[in-house]
Structures are given as structure tokens and as C-alpha cells.
Symmetry: C2
Subunit: 144 residues, 2 copies
DNA sequence: CTAATAATGGATAAATTTATCCATTATTTA
DNA sequence: TAAATAATGGATAAATTTATCCATTATTAG
């Protein structure tokens, strides 16, 4: 469904959000440990999220990654997915034709459209912060 | 969503189904031309579908790929996807944890489950033959 | 039986994605 | 100001996916 990079990105964001709700900054290592991901690769992904202003990053001692109030209120799953995987998931054709196009539809266009719209709606209506709250409550898990 | 191989596989199947409904066998080249895919790569995919008994293939002159009555009645999108991409799409975790597991759910488990179930239902309720009929009518397209 | 045809299978190659390494930069504390 | 810390950026490397090439096998028609 999503690329590995995107999966890591979502998991990392949820962890950072959780810790930010507890007023804690986290280091790259914290993140990699929490989501069980390769640190260096995760670093690249966090850089991308940071450049897209979805998370903050600070250098030096006391540095680390965090999300501020505004980010916590605004960053949705869709924001993350878009920043990492781009818009392919929204307007890509399910059978790989370039661009889904209703006026020259592929054989599964009608069926796919429904699913894709559901997915889109879901991603757009889910705040990372909300997921972080459940994580903090111990209801969900970032690794296994 | 699906791998390129799976996209080619679905498009190829629909084309073969369409031609089989018209009682025509098609060669590898016919398929690759019809779906605008690299022939040699497509060949590998068709071999896989053939070994899974989803399509027939015959060597020699008058050979080619085809689907018989039974295959046309039985092969669904889900059959193709399963043969090529495996079951990952059905029981894989949306965030990449190994196996979706409701008793130790990832943060998006509930949301994802809904989407995945929709997708599954859609794939399982769509016969390749049905898609082939619309293609034959000129209502849908395999390339663009 | 021969020649032509078309799929098959194995070996590679190219491209993309995922992952690692390390020197550099910015920041903080002592 | 020096030392320690943590992210950054660039260069590679490994792994996976996608794609190509070619010799072989099976089949058909002449
Ligand atoms: S054209 Fe293929 S999904 Fe719309
Ligand atoms: S555990 Fe992640 S989708 Fe079910």
C-alpha cells in the first residue's frame, strides 16, 4: 500500500507526536528504537518531514525531533503520506496507466475510485495526534 | 497499491479474457502491444499465471495464451492479485508491522481494516470476464 | 522430417528502493 | 573557547523490482 519509507514516516510521526504531548523531544536513536527502523534511513525520512515543516528538528545537545501545538493540530496521515509518497496514491490509476482519467477509464476505474476515495477520506480525517493519544494510553503499538 | 507486475498481470488477463470471448488466442506480442508493457517481462508474469492455471498457454504455431470457459467463470481480480503479489494485501499491516494483528494493533489498525476489507470485497467480487466485456464494448481502455 | 513458430527458463542487467557510513554543521554546556 | 551532542548532507552499498537477452523446448504445417 505505502512505501517502506512512508510506513516508517508515519510510525515515526506518531511516536514524535506522542512524546511531544508529554513535552519530550526525541533523538533519532529514540525514534529508531521506538519504531524498530534502521536509524540512518529513518534520518533521511525525518529530514524530509522536517523540511516539509511537519515536524521540528533541533541540532546540538538538548536537540532532537518534536512537534509543536500547531503541528499537532494540523498534521494528518494524508499530510505525511503526501510528503513522502507524493500524490500517486490519490490520482494514480490502479492499473498503472498514467493518471486516472474518468474520460478514458481503465477497466477497474469505477471500482478503484470508490476504494481510493475511502482511503483518501480516511487519511484526511485522521490526525497524527489522535493516533498518538491512543498510543500513549497503551492501546496501540509501533513495533512487534 | 499493486506492484507493476501485478498491474501488468491484471491488464494482460483482461485482454486475454476479451480475446478468448471472441475465440481468439493471443501471442505474447499481442498482449504486450495491447497493454503497452515490456514483452519479456510480461512473459514472466504470464508464465506465473499459466502455472497457477489462471490462463492457458500453448506452444508452437497456432499457440498463444487464452482462457477457457471455466477460467472465464472463475478468475477474479483477487485470483490474479493473489497469484502475483501474494497475500500481503490481505493480511499485511498498513504500517509494515509483521502481520496485521488485532490483539496488538498498530495505531491505524482500525482505520486500515475497513479500507482493506473494502478492497478485498471489491477484488473478490469482480470477475475478469466482466471487465473484459466492457473492454470489448469500448467502454474501457488498457493503455493510454 | 524439416522449417517455422511461439512459449519457456536461465542468466543478466538496469532501475528503484532501502539501508549504511562518515565527515560536516549547528548548538549547548562547562 | 573547548568539548560534547545531535541533526545534516553526500557518497555508497545492498536489496528488490523491473526489464532484457538468448538458447531451448514443444508444437504445427508443409
Ligand atoms: S483510470 Fe485506472 S483507476 Fe481511473
Ligand atoms: S496491525 Fe497494522 S493494520 Fe492491523
Amino acid at each position: 500500500m505505502f512505501s517502506k519509507a512512508c510506513e516508517y514516516g508515519i510510525r515515526a510521526s506518531i511516536f514524535i507526536a506522542e512524546q511531544s504531548l508529554l513535552d519530550c523531544k526525541v533523538s533519532l536513536k529514540d525514534v529508531a528504537d521506538a519504531i524498530e527502523s534502521p536509524a540512518a534511513y529513518t534520518s533521511k525520512i525525518l529530514q524530509k518531514l522536517s523540511k516539509s515543516k511537519l515536524i521540528n528538528s533541533d541540532k546540538g545537545p538538548t536537540g532532537g525531533f518534536s512537534m509543536d501545538k500547531t503541528q499537532l493540530e494540523q498534521v494528518k496521515l494524508s499530510t505525511i503520506v503526501y510528503a513522502i509518497d507524493g500524490e500517486a496514491i490519490y490520482n494514480g490509476c490502479g492499473l498503472g496507466l498514467k493518471n486516472c482519467n474518468a474520460s478514458k477509464p481503465c477497466p477497474v476505474h469505477d471500482q478503484f475510485k470508490v476504494i481510493r476515495e475511502e482511503l483518501k477520506k480516511m487519511l484526511e480525517s485522521t490526525l497524527v495526534k489522535t493516533l498518538a493519544v491512543d498510543l500513549e494510553k497503551g492501546l496501540t503499538f509501533l513495533k512487534r
